[in-house]
Amino acid sequence: MNSHEEPIIVVPCSGIGKTFGSVSREAAYEVCDELRPDTTRLLALSKLVLGEEEARERVRSGRTVTIDGCKLMCAAKLVAQSGGTVVREVAVLDVYRQHKDLKPDGIAELNDAGKQLARVIAGEIVKTIDGAGASSTLGEDNHA
């Protein structure tokens, strides 16, 4: 468990029907299900969209990592609007710009490059979760 005791909340964008949104969700699953299941919890953005009080309380009381598939940065904005503290914002597009060979494709099923891009993002997020880069931003945008 990290020094804050509470698990870090990971919020990917909804991005339903969008390739880059699928990458954001894949990265979130990779972090929460595979890499750091004991120190993270996945939160569906739709719960914040709907204003579910339990979800809002979770982001208010803990630290949050957001992963957004496009520049609208819905996940980061909604966490901030819900009173949460974003310790790291990830913009999938910015990470892709650093890994041009990993062009994602597909929606229901990402291609191999998309899955690899998700793993790259997940690896960067783990660094934050493990305390190596807290309060930093992956990519260029920081709306926190």
Binding site: K18, T19, F20, G69, C70, K71, L93, Y96, R97, K100
Partner: protein
Amino acid sequence: MPEYLQTTIDKFTFKVATDRRYSGDGIWLQETADGRLRVGVTDFVQQHSGDVAFASVKATGTTLSAGDEFAELETVKVNLSLPLPVAGTIVEVNPALDTTPEVVNQAPYGDGWLAVVEVPAGAIDRVGLLDPPAYFAVMRSQVEQELNQQ
């Protein structure tokens, strides 16, 4: 700062700068003080295509015929091949595209220009470019057609 023709259709607002001319497929051309042409894409093209991941323009010194691809935009949705509406030679490429290609989305009529092209004298008047009101009408038609398909 240019002035704009502007329309809001559904939830989208599209602008057309009034200080340049256009091709029907959304390339704008603006004469510079030294008689060259600055070239870019319209607000409609950048909105329709989505966030730009990479922008590549043919190297300076490249001579192209009208209709040849002068640039390619890779966005989150599509790979967009951009034809040069008029024959000419690329003499400058926007250096910002390498590090901040999103500038095409942020300022398509300003800092998001793509290239400067040298063309033979009078060439721009011979290729049937659209003035802003004419392109505005074309764009509206394209937007409405797009929305009707959804």
